[in-house]
Amino acid sequence: MTTARTKSMSAAGSVPKATPSPLFAALSSRRLWLTVLGWTVAGVIFFPIFWMVLTGFKTEAEAVADPSLVFSPTLDSYAEVQSRANYFHFALNSVVVSFGSTLLALLIAIPSAYAMAFLPTKRTKGTLLWMLSTKMLPPVGVLVPIYLLFRDVGLLDTRTGLTIVYTLMNLPIVVWMLYTFFKDLPKDILEAGRMDGAGTLQEVWFLLLPLTLPGIASTGLLAVILSWNEAFWSLNLTSSQAAPLTAYIASFSSPEGLFWAKLSAASTMAIAPILVFGWLTQKQMVRGLTFGAVK
């Protein structure tokens, strides 16, 4: 079918060969315009990030001077961010909290998503929707009690406290995303496993996990991204000990802290890994972010 169409198209295209292909010229000029337009738009959107990365390689004086692309790049700001402000302390907090909460969320969510996908009951749909609805509770609505609870049990400004919050915050999305990935696995394969004598654990270990690993990985990456970038709880529940990068960067907002080059260097380091994660998982992420409503 397709070949037939291509053939007939090329046959039609070969007819006006005498007049040297105005069709071809029109097509390529359309393509050219699209290329220019597409790259311009993408460039404008990306510009602030580009500028920030650039500023990170400038000196403080250059950073506040008139915008210029010409300067001699230096790594001074990067060095200073670490030596003066102990960047790695906050980076470590971010890593521990976001990866810790993601692992925890996956551990709790996998059995749940497995049950929902493969052992559904009448209540499964309701449970899924209820999980979704817990995301509707705006964090600001429960800030006060969480703050007071954390204060009373000594979880304020601890990594543990923030990890717990992020785990619970991401749990619904993680369950949903895993659920949609698990559902895509043909039921037959697990049944074949059962016929071959696999118990539940073996079924999960030998079949489910290896087969849905890409899905689990992108679910995990999304959870890491969301925790890494979370800036409501981190600003309100941590101060110095457990502050992750979001809170650390916020400290640059004070009026006296006009260290743009250092801010840029710190920010670049803070967002670089997450940008890469995001680029890697953009497709699968859509599913998680929209609870499977858009695939």
């Binding site: 597409g38 049950a115 509770l137 800036a231």
Partner: protein, 296 residues
């Protein structure tokens, strides 16, 4: 072990239940405990600075809250912020999705660049805009204006809410683009070709084929953005701190001020209840929509 598996439904149900128990019970606690506490506190006279003055307040907090002009201003700010960002991101996202759906050189990389802002943490994006883009003396926008012979604008003092809207829209436009682009890829090529055979031009195809196909994805984008935008916090926190005056204080920021700056737990909780109610008005529609999707 094997026996449990092969026998009746109730046992299967029990297994399902036990596998789901951790996730469900944790989420239940996470939701119900703070929610109950918020409601409870909102009915209490409870200020951390005045330890002696506690007790049941009835609807007093709500009375104060609703007669406080700050609340109405905050709700107004919240709605303006949400409305404008939604308008910009949905319209812009749709157009961008159409653009990035076309074939052109290096499309893949251009796409990646365009969706990048979504992965930038809110405090970083707010500070980039505040310091490097919108700064009245050294920002790129000021420099641009000057090179065009225009007066430089002090964005955050003359157009505070607009500035916040620009920053937030910059973060969320890529989200809309990402979702709508994905939705667009599921549009059947045959449908477009059939329309072309029927004599539809690009504009007709956009309005009669593409847009209807995107309807569902657009509503999902609107609802999800709404949930997040209703409680925008970090961007305000690091740029304007709600000011000047109350110009950029939205509901989330107001509650933060009442709770962690004024230490008025009762009032803050009452504000929290209002925020929850607002969010759930939106939520009902989203949940319904996702539920319909689950059926099919």
């Amino acid at each position: 072990m094997n026996k449990t598996r092969s026998s009746g439904r109730t046992v299967g149900g029990l297994r399902t239940l036990s596998l789901q128990a951790p996730a469900v019970s944790l989420l239940f606690l996470w939701m119900i405990v703070p929610l109950a506490m918020t409601v409870w506190f909102s009915l209490q006279r409870y200020n951390l600075l005045m330890p002696g003055m506690t007790g049941f307040a009835g609807l007093e907090n709500y009375e104060y809250l609703f007669t406080d002009p700050a609340l109405w201003s905050a709700i107004g700010t919240t709605l303006l912020l949400v409305g404008w960002v939604l308008a910009i991101t949905v319209v812009g996202g749709t157009l961008l999705a159409v653009l990035f759906q076309q074939e052109f050189l290096g499309r893949g990389i251009a796409r990646v660049l365009a969706i990048s802002p979504f992965f930038v943490m809110p405090t970083v994006s707010a500070l980039i805009w505040k310091n490097m883009m919108m700064h009245p003396a050294n920002g790129v926008l000021a420099w641009l204006a000057e090179s065009l012979g225009l007066p430089a604008l002090d964005w955050f003092s003359s157009l505070p809410l607009t500035s916040i809207i620009i920053i937030v829209a910059w973060q969320w436009l890529p989200f809309a683009l990402l979702i709508l682009l994905t939705a667009m890829q599921s549009l059947d090529d045959d449908q477009v070709e059939a329309a072309r055979m029927d004599g539809a031009g690009p504009i007709a195809i956009f309005f009669f084929i593409t847009l209807p196909h995107l309807k569902r994805a657009i509503s999902v984008v609107i609802m999800i953005e709404m949930i997040f935008l209703l409680t925008i916090f970090a961007e305000i926190f690091v740029t304007t701190s709600g000011g000047p005056g109350l110009a950029t204080t939205n509901l989330a920021y107001l509650i933060y001020i009442r709770a962690l700056l004024d230490f008025d737990v009762g009032m803050a909780s009452a504000g929290g209840v209002v925020a929850i109610v607002l969010a759930n008005i939106v939520a009902v529609f989203l949940v319904r929509m996702v539920a319909r999707n689950l059926e099919s």
